[in-house]
């Protein structure tokens, strides 16, 4: 399908930056729009995203340890003690990464394919879990709820979606996030990064 299209709700001119994006939000009416093969389908609403100071602003590249990242999607989730942002960004090779941003705790994660099955009932806070030969400790268990969406994403997301997530921390600063849905386990793996080493530190509100 074409990269330029009209919002099925308000008719506004939309475009996507990445050919494999599956969803975009309309900046005019805040609808979320699903992109499927040759069709454009109204999915829901993007919700209200309160402006907050952030190192990651949609459309403005940042650099970390020589690698550039271009944020193109921002999903805000609430959890028991506050909220955090999941930034969908493209690295310098055009590959998508998730950047979790929670008050200076920042992690870059990539989707990780695995055949491994982990019993969700074993994922208690503090439990030690072996994952692909490395020992991890369960450091956070919580439920996240999608509160707002902005930009474009590689998968369908909806405001109001809730899910349980598990953070597993390795001895060498590695991080694994596990999510379970319909009996399937989804894994992202990555590293914590130092916000003081993120260049182009434009601290300004999202527009």
């Amino acid at each position: 399908m074409a990269d330029d299209f009209n919002c099925p709700n308000c008719g506004g001119q939309l475009s996507r930056k990445v050919a494999h994006s599956k969803m975009v939000t309309c900046p005019y009416c805040e609808s979320t729009v699903l992109l499927e093969d040759e069709t454009v389908k109204l999915a829901g609403v993007g919700g209200v995203m309160a402006d907050e100071p952030s190192l990651f602003v949609l459309g403005r590249a940042v650099e970390y340890q020589g690698e550039s990242y271009m944020p193109i999607g921002q999903a805000r989730f609430s959890y028991s003690s506050g909220w955090w942002d999941e930034i969908w960004a493209l690295d310098g090779h055009g590959n998508g990464v998730w950047i979790s941003v929670d008050e200076g705790d920042i992690a870059i994660e990539r989707n990780h394919e695995t055949d491994l099955k982990i019993d969700e009932r074993k994922l208690k806070l503090g439990a030690r879990i072996e994952f692909e030969g490395e020992i991890f400790r369960v450091t956070e268990v919580d439920r996240g709820k999608c509160e707002a969406l902005r930009g474009e994403f590689p998968e369908e997301m909806a405001v109001g979606d809730t899910y349980t997530y598990y953070h597993l921390s390795g001895a060498r600063g590695s991080l694994i996030t596990l999510e379970f849905e319909d009996g399937e386990m989804y894994v992202t793996e990555g590293q914590w990064i130092d916000p003081y080493e993120i260049r182009q530190q434009a601290v300004e509100a999202n527009s």
């Binding site: 907050e52 100071p53 506050g82 008050e103 200076g104 600063g173 590293q191 916000p195 003081y196 601290v203």
Partner: protein, 427 residues
């Protein structure tokens, strides 16, 4: 992140308290009654510590300014003490909060300011062993172990990222690579690592909006960089590179700068005197008169007259030789020299005649001196041209060496002061 709540009342004493931190701060400690409240559980009171002595330090809750390029706000205060090698040390940690960079610490220690932040350096330190002054890798660089100690909390106030308990202690290992440091804090099998940066106190104070009128920092901080001053640093850097050049030049001139002989003579009877004639071809180049006489416990003085043959202009001057030697206490000794060199620039080119003769002795000369006066020893005269003097380059090399050496000495003293407070090894 940003909370709509900017202030609240202590659930124990009702005092107004600022709400400055984000949602990840777990505890709020009342500045008035010492109640520790759980921010994630309706500000439920978990403990109370009354009459905690407030630690020394320049900052208060709510102070804000830029640190390491990031706008930060002081949201919590923790007083820490440690008993190290027979002495008690105190410092104050200020919990900083930035909506974009999260939580970090600024530490006030004897007037020094440092910043530290939690890092995950990708190294499993659980199996690491640390020895004083040994290097260890972290964050892709090398740190030198400085000291290890137990840090004990003696004061808490404001919003903190964990629920603190008074007298809680943590074992800390400090590594240094000035102006940075790397610390490992070990509690109950967990290791937290922090990266530290030495801060320019005046700049921080300025950023926080108050003047730095406090006493200068005491001693040298573990991660304080050696900063000798721009002028001294530049001079030492220049000296480092120019000193060898000056020394080589001086050595070269000493070996090659003797010039070439253009006239020589030997005066057998210096009482009667003699002369030597030579041609001066340049008024800008040095010439030399090399004098040599085989004196043995004798001295002599020669009057000299340099005559420009064409103009008849004369210049009078004199030079002496003395040489004494002997044995005393089983060792030989000598003083003076049988040789002397006179350097001059000819006032004009052309032919010159140098007349030399012993000066007549007047009545002031003692009898012994008369006896030791040599008028029977031949005097060799050699006139050389295109002579270069190495002494000035030696002086330059020495001055440059002193400048460079003073820098190294200052640095050595600085490092000695730095390590005066650290773990020592056997060397």
């Amino acid at each position: 992140m940003s909370d709509a709540l900017k202030a609240l009342n202590c659930t124990t004493c009702g005092s107004p308290l600022p709400a400055l931190a984000g949602h990840r701060a777990k505890a709020l400690v009342c500045s008035y009654c010492g109640s520790v409240m759980d921010r994630h559980d309706g500000y439920k009171v978990l403990a109370q510590y009354r009459d905690m002595p407030r630690p020394e330090g320049p900052f208060a809750l709510g102070d804000s300014g830029e640190v390491l390029g990031v706008h930060q706000t002081v949201v919590g205060i923790v007083g820490v003490e440690s008993y190290i090698e027979g002495s008690m040390y105190y410092w104050t940690n200020y919990q900083l909060y930035s909506p974009t960079h999260g939580y970090s610490w600024m530490t006030w220690n004897d007037g020094h300011l440092t910043h530290s932040r939690k890092v995950r350096d990708g190294t499993d330190h659980t199996q690491s062993r640390f020895y004083p002054k040994n290097d260890f890798p972290a964050l892709g660089r090398s740190f030198t172990m400085f000291e290890s100690y137990n840090a004990v909390i003696h004061y808490i106030e404001g919003e903190l990222t964990w629920v603190p308990k008074l007298r809680d202690s943590v074992n800390v290992i400090d590594g240094i690579a000035p102006p940075h440091g790397f610390s490992l804090a070990r509690t109950d099998g967990e290791i937290e690592t922090e990266f530290q940066t030495y801060l320019n106190r005046t700049e921080v104070f300025e950023a926080f909006g108050f003047a730095d009128d406090l006493p200068s920092p005491l001693g040298v901080h573990a991660i304080q960089p050696f900063e000798p001053g721009e002028l001294h640093q530049s001079a030492a850097l220049a000296a480092k590179y120019f000193m060898p050049i000056a020394a080589v030049a001086a050595l070269g001139l000493m070996i090659m700068g003797g010039g070439s002989t253009i006239a020589q003579t030997r005066i057998h009877n210096t009482a009667q005197g003699g002369a030597v004639t030579f041609e001066a071809t340049s008024t800008s180049r040095l010439m030399s008169i090399e004098m040599s006489a085989p004196l043995r416990n004798q001295w002599s003085w020669y009057d000299m007259t340099l005559v420009h043959n064409e103009s008849g202009e004369e210049v009078e001057f004199g030079s002496g030789l003395q040489y004494y030697s002997g044995w005393e206490g089983g060792e030989s000794w000598s003083e003076g020299s049988q040789d002397a060199t006179l350097r001059f620039k000819p006032p004009q080119t052309g032919q010159y005649t140098l007349r030399i003769a012993n000066a007549p002795l007047d009545n002031t000369v003692t009898r012994t001196d008369r006896q030791q006066f040599a008028s029977d020893k031949p005097l060799s005269i050699e006139v050389r041209q295109n002579v270069f003097v190495s002494r000035y380059f030696w002086i330059l090399a020495i001055v440059l060496g002193l400048i460079y050496g003073s820098m190294r000495l200052r640095e050595h003293m600085f490092e000695t002061a730095r390590w005066g407070g650290g773990d020592d090894d056997d060397d």
